[in-house]
């Protein structure tokens, strides 16, 4: 490298660096939004990757187009890799959140928010402003502080290769020789399905007995991998014939022209663990009307049905009519297992930590 280019590159890098910086005057203490100029007909909605940007198909684009067509407003999705943690961070740093609504809050997210956020990250939604609330099943509410309006529901279950395995009927079956080395699931500390399964075992064996079950499960060569996106490929690659996943798996298999014999759903003890999701309003939000309009839109029966098809999650609205493929192939457990907020609060991190200490280092 020549001297001039050496110096020039330094100068160029310096200039580029300055170009990437921004400075703006801080609002006087209201902790208002940062950055983009808000206009009255744009709503930023925070959500999860799978909802907005799954490669197969995801509900995000349809929801955006449909909402914009019905209201004339503009919807911007905001998806962060760290999920709810990102918004807690911004909130705690005092830089505020641009998003008005978080779509797909789960009970364990609420527990984390209430343990870590300073003050209120979310505020309750004004019930009077929503016209579709009456239709939402009473059982689906999971926030005692009423910040979250339920939006969809799916079930955690086993998915197994019916060509080589029988359906396991109970947790005890998983410990038998027939299932030795057959099960893979995601790390509860990382993947949702793994967490739901761990909670399911706590429901079954109690917080004093669940670790013993896990020990036996690992004795029987169950694999705890990282995320669900590590687990599922191994099922597809036929490395493991049984995984912890969702009970709507056959809907995907049907659409993807996979072998339906291979994609069988198994409920243990006739149960499935409920994966409930909801919408919550950010305390930093500035546009109440649009936020209410959006949550109300999500609860419209036809929207619930359309999302059931695209996101393969069940509706929480009684009058929603899911499409045929969903009705035919999504499976429902006879009995639903679910820990609500009060049961999780104060326990969840302890359960997870104890689980990690029990399982790791068990070489």
């Amino acid at each position: 490298m020549r001297r001039r280019t050496f110096l020039a590159s330094g100068a160029a890098v310096g200039a580029a660096a300055v170009a990437g910086c921004s400075a703006e005057e801080v609002d006087d203490g209201t902790g208002g939004t940062t950055g983009s100029v808000e206009d009255d007909d744009t709503i930023v909605v925070a959500s999860t990757e799978a909802f907005v940007d799954a490669p197969s198909d995801s509900a995000g684009p349809w929801v955006k187009d449909e909402f914009e067509a019905r209201t004339g407003a503009t919807l911007e999705w905001d998806v962060r890799d760290q999920g709810i943690n990102y918004y807690i961070e911004r909130h705690n740093e005092g830089v505020g959140n641009d998003a008005e609504v978080y779509l797909n809050v789960r009970p364990h997210d609420l527990v984390r928010i209430d343990e870590n956020a300073d003050g209120d990250l979310f505020v309750p939604i004004d019930d009077g402003a929503l016209s579709n609330l009456d239709d939402v099943g009473e059982d689906y509410y999971f926030d005692p502080q009423d910040r979250v309006v339920p939006t969809w529901l799916s079930y955690c279950s086993l998915v197994y290769d019916g060509r080589s395995l029988e359906a396991p009927g109970s947790f005890e079956d998983l410990l038998s020789e027939a299932y030795r080395g057959k099960l893979a699931l995601s790390n509860p500390q990382e993947g949702t399905t793994g967490l739901l399964f761990m909670l399911w075992t706590i429901d079954e064996f109690g917080e004093d007995g669940y670790l013993e079950f896990w020990n036996d499960l690992l004795e029987n060569d169950a694999r705890v991998l990282d995320g669900w996106s590590d687990v599922y490929p191994q099922f597809l690659e036929e490395e493991v014939p049984m995984i912890v996943s969702y009970s709507n798996d056959r809907v995907y298999a049907k659409r993807d022209e996979q072998d339906l014999e291979k994609h069988q759903v198994g409920f243990l003890e006739g149960q499935g663990y409920a994966n409930l999701l909801g919408a919550a309003r950010f305390a930093d939000g500035t546009n109440d009307d649009l936020a209410h309009e959006f949550v109300d839109f999500v609860l419209e029966p036809d929207v619930q049905a359309a999302v059931a098809e695209r996101n393969v999650t069940g509706p929480v609205v009684e009058s929603a009519e899911p499409p045929e493929v969903y009705r035919d192939y999504a499976e429902h457990p006879d009995e639903i297992v679910f820990f609500d907020y009060d049961e999780l609060s104060g326990n969840l991190s302890t359960w997870l930590e104890d689980w990690g200490r029990e399982v790791a280092g068990d070489v």
């Binding site: 020039a8 940007d53 399982v359």
Partner: protein, 652 residues
């Protein structure tokens, strides 16, 4: 001495500009022919050689004086710039997270560390030593069969094994590439860096297809009537995957050292009656040890901080320290996460420091090298001496096929297979996603473009940074190895800690005097990449600078060349292979980086290829594999270009 004239296109690898023509530099010429700086060297005549008949006040003269002064301070300026970049974009952000470990509820405390050190879960039997038990009893237990390693102990144990396996698989490759001539050798050499770039999620799938119950290995064993072996979900699978990532690293640095061995010394030893083996042992090997150890030290640090691959191929029973750092961060338990990350960092830096001490005492002085002539791969005669090494290489080639080629080949295969046999539908998916994907969705082309742009940006920052730090750490002063090891910290700090620190600090913005200063997402990503790859530039450039004959530098200085002039005209051309190697590593690391990129990307317009691969991996393998093939093609082309621009006999 090879002519290391970078006149053709060498420097353009570094910053994409060509050299301005000018008058020959006398200082450079004074440095003797060794520099190989040709007739079109830049002419900024140093003050010492100014001709007297010039008008001292002419504008050109004034300009020249200003430029001259600038030039004299260039190193210092770059050093200050480098320090600033590192402070703002690495040390400060990381410190904001680390401080949580020692500053709890408004008071300084070491209790978190003490709790960690005394916790058998992390430190096994050693924890009892920290808790004050008698060393004899602890050592006795550690030597017994039912010893407890703890998570930290296990992490170190698998890192040591991974390093040994990487060396075992890396050295034969180095031997092949350094000592044999065959068609495609240079291309092969430039592609050895590919594994470095692969996202772990893809590698995991590739290894399942290779080592799994229905994998290629068992299929191959079945043909010869052996097997089946079940390697998945075991320590072995993790070690092999670590070797996949790190053996190429060891191979590359060793090839570089091997190619800069002075053939004359070897020939002298032979003419004095040493057998080939003896000459190798006494002349060549001592010059390879530092490189092998450097590769080993880096491999240890990488595998000590390993995370996703461990869970994907081994499972949670084989969790490492980094798994728990991630978990604690996810739980927003920053204090404990930081304490654990600091422990992790201390162990890694101790290993690096040990290596740097070794390196300092094993410098081989050189005036440039004349590589040993390469042998033909086809044996010239059928004698044991010719056949044995080649037979060994043939056996190695079979192993390498399984470890390095098979996972990648299985990915390519998966990208071409659909429900009904061979198909291009997954590539069609990429094109469709590109054409019809919404702006808030990840699309292939922006991912490719971002990867390239970020890599170029990271290269433009990390190369000058690395060169400057190399210069600063090869000067003689007390404690320079300490400075060196602190400069290596970015290699050893947990990626998620860097990401979170950058996010909470520069990206969210820092408030000063009523203004909030923030750094844009793309810039933060480039910075994070540059900071994580510049140590590689240092490690590939510094040993060369260290070993240069000081008299070259001194003669140039005595002829009036400024320090930066000597660096650019004399030293860098002589260590050019190291610079090109650093550049290749920088590009590889930037293209493969995942953990901070995914934290810092704001919106989908900043995502890179590895992120796209991860996002496309969902209930089907095709689209992600097709994106993996795109990554494969783009990075292969990049590395071959870097290698070609490095010039013949350059590049590692």
């Amino acid at each position: 001495m090879t002519n290391t004239d970078p006149a053709d296109d060498g420097p353009s690898t570094a910053d994409g500009t060509s050299r301005p023509a000018g008058t020959p530099s006398q200082a450079a010429e004074g440095a003797g022919p060794a520099t190989g700086v040709g007739s079109d060297a830049v002419g900024l005549e140093p003050a010492a050689t100014k001709s007297a008949d010039e008008d001292p006040d002419s504008p050109t003269d004034r300009q020249r004086r200003v430029r001259d002064r600038l030039e004299r301070r260039a190193i210092a300026t770059f050093a200050v710039g480098t320090t600033l970049v590192l402070l703002v974009l690495f040390y400060y952000p990381v410190a904001t997270v680390f401080v949580d470990a020692v500053y709890v509820e408004g008071a300084l405390t070491l209790s978190l560390f003490l709790d960690l050190l005394r916790d058998p879960f992390y430190f096994g039997d050693l924890a009892r030593l920290f808790a004050g038990e008698s060393p004899l009893a602890v050592v006795g237990d550690l030597l017994s069969a039912d010893r407890r390693l703890g998570i930290v102990g296990f992490t170190a144990y698998q890192a040591v094994l991974s390093t040994l396996l990487s060396v075992a698989l890396g050295l034969p490759a180095a031997y092949l590439l350094a000592r044999y001539e065959f068609p495609g050798r240079r291309t092969l050499r430039s592609l050895t860096i590919l594994p470095f770039v692969f996202p772990s999620i893809m590698v995991a799938v590739g290894f399942v297809a290779t080592l799994g119950q229905n994998g290629t290995l068992n299929a191959a064993l079945g043909v010869v009537g052996l097997g089946p072996v079940d390697l998945m979900f075991s320590l072995e699978a993790i070690l092999i995957a670590h070797a996949f990532y790190n053996a190429p690293l060891i191979a590359r640095v060793t090839v570089a050292a091997w190619e800069s061995v002075d053939a004359r010394a070897f020939e002298t030893a032979r003419s004095l009656g040493a057998s080939p083996f003896r000459a190798f042992r006494d002349v060549v090997a001592p010059q390879l040890y530092p490189a092998v150890l450097m590769g080993s030290a880096l491999t240890f640090v990488f595998t000590f901080g390993t995370f996703p691959i461990v869970l994907a191929l081994g499972g949670f029973q084989l969790a490492t320290v980094e798994v728990f750092v991630y978990q604690l961060i996810r739980e927003l338990n920053y204090a404990e996460a930081a304490a654990l990350a600091i422990v992790e960092l201390a162990i890694s830096l101790a290993v690096l420091y040990g290596y740097l001490r070794y390196e300092a005492t094993h410098v081989v002085r050189s005036r440039g090298a004349q590589p040993l002539p390469r042998k033909r791969l086809v044996p010239p005669a059928f004698s044991a001496r010719e056949l044995l090494p080649r037979g060994g290489l043939a056996v190695y080639a079979v192993v390498a096929l399984f470890v390095f080629v098979s996972p990648i080949a299985s990915m390519v295969y998966t990208s071409l297979v659909g429900a009904n046999g061979l198909t291009l539908e997954h590539y069609r998916f990429l094109l469709e996603r590109q054409a019809t994907g919404a702006t808030f969705q990840i699309r292939p082309w922006p991912a490719v473009r971002n990867s390239l742009v970020f890599a170029a940006g990271a290269l433009a920052i990390s190369l000058p940074m690395g060169v400057v730090v190399s210069v600063l750490t090869t000067r003689r002063y007390r404690g320079r190895k300490l400075v060196d090891v602190i400069a290596m910290a970015p290699l050893a700090v947990s990626g998620i800690i860097v990401g979170i620190g950058l996010l909470r600090g520069p990206v969210f913005g820092v408030e000063l005097a009523g203004w909030r200063f923030a750094v844009g997402g793309a810039l933060a990503i480039v910075a994070a990449h540059a900071v994580s790859c510049y140590p590689f530039v240092v490690r590939t450039v510094a040993p060369g600078l260290e070993s240069l004959d000081r008299s070259l530098l001194e003669s140039a200085r005595s002829l009036g060349a400024s320090r930066v002039r000597v660096l650019v005209d004399v030293e860098l051309p002589l260590v050019w292979p190291g610079v090109v190697a650093g550049a290749a590593f920088a590009v590889a690391i930037s293209m493969g980086e995942f953990s901070s990129t995914v934290i810092l990307a704001t919106g989908t317009d900043q995502y890179t290829m590895p992120v796209a691969i991860e996002r496309f991996m969902n209930r089907q393998l095709g689209p992600a594999s097709a994106m993996g093939v795109v990554l494969l093609v783009v990075t292969s082309i990049s590395f071959v270009i870097i290698d070609r621009l490095g010039g013949e006999s350059f590049g590692i």
